[in-house]
Assembly symmetry: C2
Homo-oligomer: 138 residues x 2
DNA sequence: ATAGTCCTGCAACGGAAGTGCATTTTTTCC
DNA sequence: GGAAAAAATGCACTTCCGTTGCAGGACTAT
């Protein structure tokens, strides 16, 4: 918990109790979560607080948003190798159509994309859909 | 109009007046449109009809959905080179952060992605964000 | 022409995102 | 330590988008 507190301070986010709990929850999850997921995990607290906490995390580069096509936004902690701020970074996310879970595959490298003349890229998001390793074993 | 009628019939979609109009609208647009865009263009007709028309088009492989991160779904006609049904197809879409428009860059090829062991892909979507050619000229 | 199927229009629902404002908590500064 | 200021939280409400149920209208087939 002390580590979380320090981390949040480094990101210029005040380490309130709620924020540390939500951060811990995100850290424990191996997959991206929706706002509703967090609400269920913390029934005692308010939707708005969770919403604003995630927004704060997002603006501070602590989490990044994933639109996996399920219609609702999902959030995952930015890892060490996740250069969300960098222009050239490509986020690879995998959405399992069986268990409906979305995870970051940070170790999978994405080749560079050549855009047509006149286009300049600042960000990119790649969502691959299919069956994840767990569901393929069953 | 006759061509549209024929095309819809080939896709096993009955060529009603509404459907042909919406198809024509989509064909004229160079960018992906939202349901709201179509509603504005056809103020006289009902939201639901447009919604169901697009759903019909989607299920018949006439249009494909794009989630460009703006929160709302956008739709674009499947072109000749758009193998929406094929498993290995990668849809490359470009979302301009200035004019907020999303377009299909079908001529831009996507390299193959190597997934970690255990993962199998059935679909993928790639959205690149930045500045489009038009906005870069200004 | 009639029955059946499909399409369209209207109304309403539901989920998720977002906002305004009052209250509480935390920080700052004396 | 205590008051003032700033930030975080809780509650209510709104809006937006997608979706569905149902009734009437249009089309198709026989």
């Amino acid at each position: 918990m002390k580590a979380i507190e320090k981390f949040l301070e480094e990101k210029h986010v005040r380490p309130t109790a709620m924020r540390m709990l939500i951060f811990k929850f995100l850290a424990q999850k191996q997959v991206a979560v929706t706002l509703a997921d967090i609400e269920i995990a913390f029934e005692k607290s308010e939707r708005t607080t969770i919403y604003r906490t995630i927004k704060t995390f997002e603006n501070s580069g602590i989490v990044h948003v994933i639109e996996d096509g399920s219609g609702v936004s999902k959030y995952a902690l930015c890892e060490a190798g996740c250069n969300c701020e960098l222009d050239s970074d490509l986020h690879l996310h995998f959405h399992c159509e069986i268990c409906k879970e979305t995870q970051c595959l940070t170790e999978t490298k994405i080749p560079h994309i050549n855009l047509p003349p006149g286009f300049t890229a600042t960000d990119a998001s790649l969502v691959v859909k299919g069956t994840c390793d767990k569901c393929n074993k069953e």
